[in-house]
């Protein structure tokens, strides 16, 4: 562990410091993250909110290692992602990160159980060992009877439950969710968030959720509000006092 990660408190799961990220389109350079500071603690659910194009998804991509930064430090679960070579970042994602996507991204030609087993298969577990664990997770998310169905036969809410099971099956310490309720109706959205809250809380997992949906703010331990590539403030849902990002502490 290097100096940056060793200086962090033990309960810090994700720490971003001075992170910059810009995208080039021809001659035009768009700065998406500007000197971002962000911290999420172990066992915490942090919702990243803000208007479209403010950099929420880029922030999520950077902290889970699917996108390299232009500058700054990214420490996730003690791994300095900004220093690691790409192959090790890939391994980090495989072992430590669970993903829940807006469009579920289930493989349409695999059964539900096979989809849930994918992260285990990526780690090299044979199908015969991965499938029983996938079925256990399906039981936990309340759809064990759908194990042999194709995803196309499931409702949106059920598909997101499958995605949650897939994100949890390899026991990751960090779960990243991109707009997990945007493709769902209000009631289903709440069910999914309650499930996510329940299944992540008991193992002290860190959950980072990017969302536009104010109806799910109440599930957060903290809300990080972004605008124009910066985190403006971090607050608890019930907190009426807004904390400026410069004084944001863990």
């Amino acid at each position: 562990m290097s100096s940056v990660s060793s200086n962090l408190a033990a309960n810090v799961a994700v720490h971003l410091s001075g992170v910059d990220k810009s995208f080039r389109n021809g001659d035009q350079v768009t700065s998406v993250l500007k000197q971002v500071q962000f911290t999420a603690n172990v066992g915490e659910m942090v919702l990243v909110v803000g208007p479209s194009g403010c950099g929420k998804t880029t922030l999520l991509s950077v902290l889970c290692g699917t996108l390299k930064t232009d500058g700054g430090e990214v420490v996730s679960l003690g791994h300095e992602l900004h220093r690691l070579p790409p192959a090790q970042v890939t391994q980090f994602r495989a072992r430590h990160v669970g993903f829940i996507f807006q469009q579920f991204n289930l493989l349409p030609t695999l059964t539900v159980a096979e989809n849930v087993a994918v992260p285990l298969r990526i780690q090299g577990l044979p199908l015969r060992e991965a499938l029983p664990r996938a079925r256990q997770l399906l039981e936990r998310v309340g759809i064990p009877e759908k194990a042999n169905e194709l995803p196309s036969r499931l409702s949106g809410g059920q598909q997101q439950r499958v995605a949650i099971a897939r994100a949890l099956v390899h026991e990751p310490a960090l779960i990243v969710c991109d707009e997990p309720t945007s493709a769902l109706d209000s009631a289903t959205g709440h069910q999914v968030m309650e499930l996510l809250h329940e299944v992540t809380r008991d193992r002290r997992r860190t959950v980072i959720v990017v969302t536009h949906d104010p109806r799910i703010y109440r599930y957060a331990d903290r809300l990080a509000e972004m605008e124009d590539g910066r985190i403006l403030r971090v607050e608890t849902p019930a907190d009426s006092v807004r904390i400026p990002p410069t004084s944001f502490s863990l």
Binding site: T57, T58, L60, S61, C64, T66, L67, A87, T90, Q91, F92, R93, A94, R95, V97, F99, F101, Q102, Q103, N105, L107, P108, T109, L110, E114, V118, P119, R121, I122, Q123, L127, D178, E179, S182, V210
Partner: protein
Amino acid sequence: MTDIALKMVFGERAKYAMLVSGICFSTILMTQGLALFFGILGFSYATATNVRAPIWVVDPLVQQVGDNQPLRDTDVNRVRSVEGVAWAAPLYVGGAQARLLGGGATQPVTLVGLDADTLAGAPTKLVAGDVQDLRRPQSVVVAEQFVEMMQRLRGERLRVGDVFEMNDRRAQIVGIAKTAQGQGGASYVFTTWDRAREYAPSQRRMLTHVLAAPEPGRSDREIAQVISERTGLRAITEEEFKRMSSHWMLVNSPIPYVVGLIVGIGFVIGLGVSGQTFYTFILENTRHLGALKAMGTSNLTLIRMVMTQAGVVGVVGFGIGVGVMSAFFSMLPEGRAPLRLLWPIPVIVFGAILFICSVAAVVSSWRVVRIEPAIVFRS
């Protein structure tokens, strides 16, 4: 991850069917083109296939099996006198016109005159009659193709005992043989050397070939070389004669171009249609591959998955294509169509299909490697 790769391909049935169809069609075209090529080559040396002899002695100017340059009658004895020659027999090969009794159109045939004493070079696969009956007056053994050709004129099938005319002389069928079809579709009629002189158009010298065999313990090639040295004639083994003929066809006929075009079209279709369809398949699966990549699948694993998908599509398409062509060829009348599915053909075509699939896989892999895992977060 191999099973996931395969399920991704097999699960999308329409795309899978299209991929396999492209490879299958490409295989069929290339197989058919090459089979046609070998078939036509086979036609070009049909005489050497139908008249079996270890050594063929011909005029030094002869360049291919169909080139019947006359020899002197004394050349048979000159060959016989060469040390190491077990036997030598005269052979006449030339064109003649056959006609049914009572007139009608004439049909071109390749007339083969065999040595009456030994019947050396006589057909071995008879479907009716007996080749020994060639020693009877006016007797001939005809090829099955000749029977079918005459049936189309007469309306009923010729049998052993039936009579037709060649050069206004009667020829009675004493046997029907299975033979390879000759160039230009002419079918074979076998008779004795002396009788061939009556059936063939009159010419000064009738001897076109001398057939020979080495004594036991001596090789065909060795004795052929000795005959060439002693007589000044060209003596070659049966295989050399066929090879020489094939080479002549390759150099002097337009067949390589025609066949090359067919095989080339098959290859281009395979590369264009299947390659592009496979690339499109990868493009359409970019999101799913991106999700796998985000979840920690390495580039190497994804490349292996793409290679597996391309390989399986190639093998299945090739298998169906070759199967279809084998079934088709087995339905064709033996020796009639210029199509020969020799073992090198599937090997060559499989190599071409592998190349097509490899190109498709490499191009697609390049695309997969360049997928940003963060793509999965874009709606």
